[in-house]
Symmetry: C2
DNA sequence: AGCAAGTGCTTCGGATTCGAAGCAACTGCG
DNA sequence: CGCAGTTGCTTCGAATCCGAAGCACTTGCT
């Protein structure tokens, strides 16, 4: 199992740590703002934002979960919570009897709008303030590439059940 | 409070989303590896790694918490857990009677060593595979800058108690 | 058509998380 | 010196999170 993976050099380590650290710091700061401005957790905000972004204002549960990188059961919990608050509705998908479609309500959009300016302000102050235009462009480009690559790996929802094919890391 | 914060442009939004998404995906992948390889959660790994990185192998609780961007109470919990497993020890700081110094044990170092190769492998496969040398260097540079800027804001441990001074953004 | 495997979501139980409150030691200022 | 305010950590209670197991519908294969 210990197949001598090339040890990371200093730059790689730096990139990795900086990525984790920066995202953690940002997430926490944003989380506080969201809590105060609209009593939303970060995930809840992500869910509403994802839905709001959709042309129809709705998505299937699994797609939502994969989109925000969340467990299915966790999403069920959050969907219930948001539904109780009247920010989303849940309904059976028309084509698939099992599927549940989550839709953002006007109330949900209102909260989103309520919270958004402050959200942007935090981003400006914390993330973008220290970066040049070019930095931001590069960041967007590089991270998008990394993300796309990671998305190729089967998402959250596919792993657990069955492991019919080869299991893990491997190349003959 | 709605001070018309400049709306983000597409690039900024892209950078932000990519950052959050990429870090989430990476974190989850790493988490699975850590769980399998050494039954460690991500935070636990971060804590051990931080301690292992220290010349003395030890740190004070608050510094640890701020280092990994964690709540104090959460750290207390994790420190207990790690102590039970014999991966760290806790002792009173010599200079400050209240302070607690956490130190990594040989067992802790062993687990770290056990887990590290696989950890690196995941990083290679998921994060670095899609990026060029130059990409990685840029990423390290830009994110380090962002992180350092965010670190200027008082850390986790300073916020909660008292708000004796002005509340938010400000410089006299 | 009919059954076995697969997929979508929820429920369940337990682990982890956080902020607020509490306790103890430290500090500074009268 | 002595006490009010701070600071370091833990305890407490409640919220959130996840994976495993369960249930219901769908699909593929014969």
């Amino acid at each position: 199992m210990t197949s001598t993976p090339s040890p990371l050099d200093a730059t790689q380590l730096g990139a990795y740590f900086a990525l984790i650290e920066a995202s953690s710091l940002l997430k926490h700061a944003v989380e506080q703002q969201l809590r105060e401005a609209g009593d939303l957790s970060y995930v809840q905000f992500q869910l509403l934002a994802t839905l709001g972004d959709s042309p129809t204002g709705s998505r299937r549960m699994t797609d939502l979960a994969d989109g925000v990188v969340y467990s299915r059961s966790g999403l069920t919990y959050q969907a219930q919570t948001l539904e109780k608050r009247g920010l989303v509705t849940r309904s059976q998908s028309s084509d698939d009897e099992r599927g549940v479609t989550v839709t953002i309500t006007d109330g949900g959009r209102a909260v989103l709008a309520e919270v958004f300016p402050g959200h942007v302000a935090v981003l400006d102050d914390l993330l973008f303030a220290a970066l040049s235009r070019a930095d931001i462009e590069t960041l967007a480009d590089v991270l998008a590439r990394a993300r796309d690559h990671m998305r190729q790996t089967p998402p959250r929802s596919a792993q657990p059940r069955r492991r019919k094919r080869t299991t893990a890391a491997n190349q003959p």
